[in-house]
């Protein structure tokens, strides 16, 4: 465009709060190259306001000139011709690298979370079933669901309050033993004794 092979870019803030990237051309006029809405362009922008507000000669709106700056530079960016369409892509490239996550690919924690909620809903459903149709099937299901729900719940409590690699290992191992014993005891009770539903019914008939 210009015979120097260089052009000046100005980010102009108009009085209606629109932002337009304009190219200062050879004849001193400006050409809109991009109307800027998104955050992408503004994120690294250090705003330096020119003190005067200008009036546009053609459309009579006023604007203020912001020099387009990036965090990498502390001065107005003068972009050689062939990079003229690139400036927003520079910032896109810097920020897209944040999308590279650090750490493993494992979805284990997320799946665990979902499983906890599914189990809670299952346990909720078991309540009315145990009340309206007690029996061995619901007894053993309740034993399993209650134990597992309690195991995962106490697991979360331990995760919150126990710190230090050895202590965490010991706590989780103890919990595992406790949950196993609990499940064994409940199954033994279901098999050799009256069963969970009957036990609650008998207790309440007192």
């Amino acid at each position: 465009n210009t015979h120097l092979g260089l052009e000046l870019r100005l980010l102009l803030l108009y009085s209606d709060h629109t932002l337009k990237l304009r190219r200062l051309c050879f004849l001193g006029r400006t050409q809109v190259i991009k109307a800027v809405h998104g955050r992408l362009l503004l994120q690294p922008l250090q705003r330096s306001w020119t003190p005067e507000t200008h009036r546009c000669c053609c459309c009579r709106c006023c604007y203020r000139a912001l020099f387009y700056q990036s965090a990498l530079l502390a001065r107005p960016l003068v972009v050689p011709n062939k990079y003229q369409e690139q400036p927003h892509l520079l910032t896109a490239r810097i920020h897209s690298s944040q999308a590279l996550y650090a750490g493993s690919d494992s979805k284990a924690a997320s799946l665990h979370w979902t499983a906890e909620r599914v189990l809670s809903i299952l346990l909720l459903a078991m309540g009315p079933v145990a009340y309206f149709s007690p029996g061995p099937v619901i007894d053993y299901s309740l034993a399993a669901a209650l134990t597992l729900h309690g195991h995962w719940g106490i697991g979360q409590v331990l995760t919150d309050y126990v710190h230090g690699d050895t202590k965490i290992k010991i706590a989780n191992a103890s919990l595992f033993v406790l949950s196993t014993v609990t499940f064994a005891g409940l199954c033994y009770f279901n098999y050799n004794d009256v069963g969970i539903c009957k036990a609650i019914a008998l207790l309440w008939s007192k």
Partner: protein, 169 residues
């Protein structure tokens, strides 16, 4: 003028040239998991023997806070009770009706029996209703503060009513 512009260009454009983008293209932080970060935090502070800042001793208690810790408390309590029951079933001689008759023979007044039933029913119903409230949050609803309080009071009210009703059966 041209010289001025060229100076600006030389100083300003260096890193913005696309061919330099390879320098920051993979500018991601060092790879650690959240678990590693947490462990490192605790290990460092334990090693330096740092005291913990006061938190629950100085922060003003609120209804949501109290409901949350009550949910945890009832959960741990109920889990402990179930485990105790299971261990007792394995260890104690005799069967369930035997021990029930033992308690019957203690001739506890109806008020105390009602109180005991309420004492069993309330943790169960509170934990259940607040659990439903948690599931409501898990689908993303009810996070506005007035909603939190509204659902909270609903849970408390329902728990008390349900527990009284069950205790009277």
């Amino acid at each position: 003028m041209a010289l001025l512009l060229r100076t600006f260009a030389r100083q300003g454009v260096c890193l913005s040239k696309p061919q330099y983008s390879f320098l920051y293209r993979h500018a991601a932080p060092m790879g650690t998991t959240a678990k590693d970060e947490m462990n490192k935090f605790w290990a460092k502070n334990a090693r330096l023997n740092r005291p913990m800042s006061p938190h629950i001793t100085i922060y003003q208690w609120s209804v949501p806070m109290m409901m949350s810790i009550t949910h945890r408390g009832t959960g741990v309590g109920l889990s402990g009770a179930i485990s105790a029951f299971a261990v007792a079933a394995l260890v104690l001689p005799g069967n369930y009706p035997y021990y029930l008759d033992l308690i019957h023979s203690l001739s506890i007044g109806p008020i105390l029996i009602g109180l005991a039933k309420f004492g069993i029913a309330f943790p169960v119903s509170y934990h259940t209703y607040n659990g439903i409230r948690h599931l409501y949050w898990d689908v993303g609803k009810g996070f506005k503060i007035p909603e939190v309080y509204r659902t909270g009071y609903t849970v408390i009210g329902l728990s008390i009513i349900t527990s009284i009703a069950i205790a009277m059966i």
